[in-house]
Symmetry: C2
Subunit: 603 residues, 2 copies
Amino acid sequence: MKTNYRNVTLLGGYFKEKELLNRSVTLAAVYDRFSESGRIRAFSCDWKEGMPDRPHFFWDSDVAKWMEGAAYVLSRENNTDLQNKVEHLIDEIERNQGEDGYFNIYFTVCEPDKRFTNRDWHELYCAGHLMEAAVAYYEATGRDRFLRIMEKYADYIEKVFMIDKSAPYETPGHEEIELALYRMYTCTGKDKYLRMMAHFLERRGQSDNHEAQIFGAARYAQSHLPIRQQKEAFGHSVRAMYLYAGMTDLAVAKKDDELLDACRALFEDVTKKKMYITGGIGSTCMGEAFTAAYDLPNNTAYTETCASIGMMFFANRLFKADPMRDSRYADAVELEFFNGAMSGLSLDGECFFYENPLEIYLDERRRIISTHDHERFPITQRPKMFGCSCCPPNIVRLLASLGEYIYAYDEERDTVFINQFAESVYDDGERRVKVSTVYPEDGVIRIESDTPFAVRMPGWCKSFGADKPYRAENGYAYFEKGTVTVTLDMTPYLVNASLGVVRNIGKAALRRGPIVYCAEGVDNPALFTRYFDKTAARNAVVSKDERLGICLSVKGYRRLENVKGGLYAPLDEAFEDCEIKLIPYASFANRGESDMAVYLFYR
Amino acid sequence: MKTNYRNVTLLGGYFKEKELLNRSVTLAAVYDRFSESGRIRAFSCDWKEGMPDRPHFFWDSDVAKWMEGAAYVLSRENNTDLQNKVEHLIDEIERNQGEDGYFNIYFTVCEPDKRFTNRDWHELYCAGHLMEAAVAYYEATGRDRFLRIMEKYADYIEKVFMIDKSAPYETPGHEEIELALYRMYTCTGKDKYLRMMAHFLERRGQSDNHEAQIFGAARYAQSHLPIRQQKEAFGHSVRAMYLYAGMTDLAVAKKDDELLDACRALFEDVTKKKMYITGGIGSTCMGEAFTAAYDLPNNTAYTETCASIGMMFFANRLFKADPMRDSRYADAVELEFFNGAMSGLSLDGECFFYENPLEIYLDERRRIISTHDHERFPITQRPKMFGCSCCPPNIVRLLASLGEYIYAYDEERDTVFINQFAESVYDDGERRVKVSTVYPEDGVIRIESDTPFAVRMPGWCKSFGADKPYRAENGYAYFEKGTVTVTLDMTPYLVNASLGVVRNIGKAALRRGPIVYCAEGVDNPALFTRYFDKTAARNAVVSKDERLGICLSVKGYRRLENVKGGLYAPLDEAFEDCEIKLIPYASFANRGESDMAVYLFYR
């Protein structure tokens, strides 16, 4: 089973819009912010005490992710300016790489004696992102200089961690290098990288005391158990996703069913117990972490953008790894992309959310913040930059490689899988599939294929229609080659959560196709007194807003204040009819600070 | 307008039961705990570094409140053992009082050089409680030794704060001495105490920088404004109540309408915006304080027992002070007594809540506590003692002086006010009123009076009936002398909160008469999936449990899990009928740790 973003050409629709926004705005915006903050300059490695912009130990990774995204863009377009920027960074990396192969800005210029001494200082994480960028750049451009630099660094890492074992820890604090080494392996064919990757994965949770003491908890860094025994998602959610993605890669490489089972169990645990309706994962700011099953508070939801992107990595790998070819994996990718991931980017492409709450109630949070100083809420507006700015370049590399998620080719079945619905062409030189659709504006998808293909039957879709016969299996409709029009029922409907999510009992969220909706105060004054009419969702009025996307207006009710007034009064439940206007969740906070809710009461 | 607990004899019913429980159990239990913890022994003032039970600077106040309660008990019964305990403490106080009149255990034995140096170290607070105890003991027994000791201390306090002005602050951190000095004034007739009380009140908020910096906020200690300008309740809720009670006393003494207006505004602010349905006030553990209007979270409610008792002090004084003779004040006393105050005491009389939450959801708090270490919840079971053990002796003195709240005599109108309904006799030597009732078991109240009287028409009561004609005014029914039977409609009903309390939208609480109900998990498995039937409350089945009181069983519904299962599913609102069993809120947590909710959804 293979995916390759370079075989996919986006032609229109939401995916194409985001790809273009990234190429025209976000890619440059992130570079500019990184320039202004000193991150680009830092690669010259000439910072001295007393100078401004002291490098941080994760800056390499921020820029590396941007480089990776730039590489994907360069695979499609000649862009001398962009290429020069990347080449300049590679120049600096080459110039400042140690004789031994080491490269890390912070530990070169700030604390050279601290190299590889603290598991939580992100050196292997930074190395991993640089490796991913190097592989991407080589594959995109054929230029191998960066790749060779990183091969040399990989040699050094092998020496430190596998030969000399000179570091006081065995596995990375923040996972990432596992994924990267696997890409080095698939790119170069060198078994060594697979061995290194396997080493870092297999040593995890192997009773090292020093491994456990990261932010006080082994679970925080997924070091509480050996990987095959990890069946429940714990700890820092981005780290977790990168780990699980790496585990999936290893399961494929080694045909390791036990490991694959662990990956499946982790996917189940996340999607059945620890995921917001938007796909958001990691519900607390404390450690940016998973908490307990069903602990999914709306207003303090952390749900980091990078975690949603990480979940796309994990789910897409699991789809390829799992011979079941189950549509749930691509369902998860779709949910994340349209909601939890894209909410991380402003509609103008320049601003970012790190956290993506499911509810903003301005009055209440003002009250609480003014009086309970231990409470913490996500910010309400996307800034252009963060001190910890991992999410923006993660969006850049995601949006520059969307083809990765749209099609996959299954050699065994000689079938092209259509996982995401985008106006696009898949062409791997031997097979060609063309999809025409304005999805998710509507659910009509026309497919012309010169090869057998399978179309995902989304889990959210109550009715899947096709004008040709097909065989349904595990959420895919298998068709012979030819031309088929598939129709997905896009009727909006209300969704509620399991009773386990106690604080959402009595509330529902509105969904249309893959899009989860939210209501903002700017459209709905006194938002938190509004109830959905529980039967009206299907009659929602659908309208298209050029900026916000497909908007919905549904019948609802507005709860009125007790007639008797006062703080308490005999139950007196008066309502007036109202319209509730909803916009795609990912579009919230693009019109100034406002109340916002994904879940509202219904009656 | 006068009240005097000694004119009231309880004969039966809830008030009498609590009075007896206090005399037979709580009074002794609190003394024993104070003995075990070293508080009694501390009065010998011979503690030295290295000895156990280092005195705390508020220990005097804990024991003084107990002494005050003991004094009330001694007014009714000959109890040599109890009197000896009090006399022993007075011996020690007398023996250890400074030449100058000063008495405080901590600053005598631990930090003698720190006397009156820190506004927040509770010296004036302790002095106040000792004065209240001394007045109570003198009025109860005619023995004036303790009163004389405290008069000497008062002289010293006058010297320090009003003559020499040698302390680095002008007004108490924790209010209390204001009330106490007023009692000294009314007991002795000496104007000096009124002047001292007025001084401490009037200097409050008068721009002293050192006043403002208490726990970082002037509002915390009600020092943000001069008292006449204080119209909103802020800060530590017990301190606030004691202050407002003192302000009310001063308004009466000085016939100061502007000050009385401030007191009325504060009462309005608390009861209309900052009070739980149980009467609980002070919604956050941060500073044990009031927060913003309508910020009344159920599960983290702080609602200290002492604050409810303090609200009784304030409301009862306001009733007497306000020539409107408005029943809202006695309504507030009733609400506090039956709910927020009595929830502080276990049914066996030996254990205490300091905090009184409105919701306990064990699974959720386990989840949250295990994963969000910044969250804090009230404890779920009453212990016998606290390190900061102010609430237990506050309950003792309250339950030993309940007559204070039940009747009041208004000289101007020559009318006895019946504020609380208890099987009891009022006899002030000139007038006699006898009330026969099993209230709140039922709402039938028979009154025989040889003087005109006024019966409170409770705000919660939808229908007030009487077998004699009456004139209604401001919530009181005014009757001529004679025999009257009054009937209060005790039909249970659901109550909801103003929409301002956003987190209670869609929820209701059940109330019958003055009693607010709660449901416990022990009676109602899966408590948080249960909904009231919004029309069924009036048909509640009423039953009497010997321990818990009048219990109710009402028709309700149990929300069923989504048929499709999974974390999210299309809205599918299935219910099954169920009974919801409710007990008086004040009786919660007497049958082991359990989920508990005052508010449930309704449909």
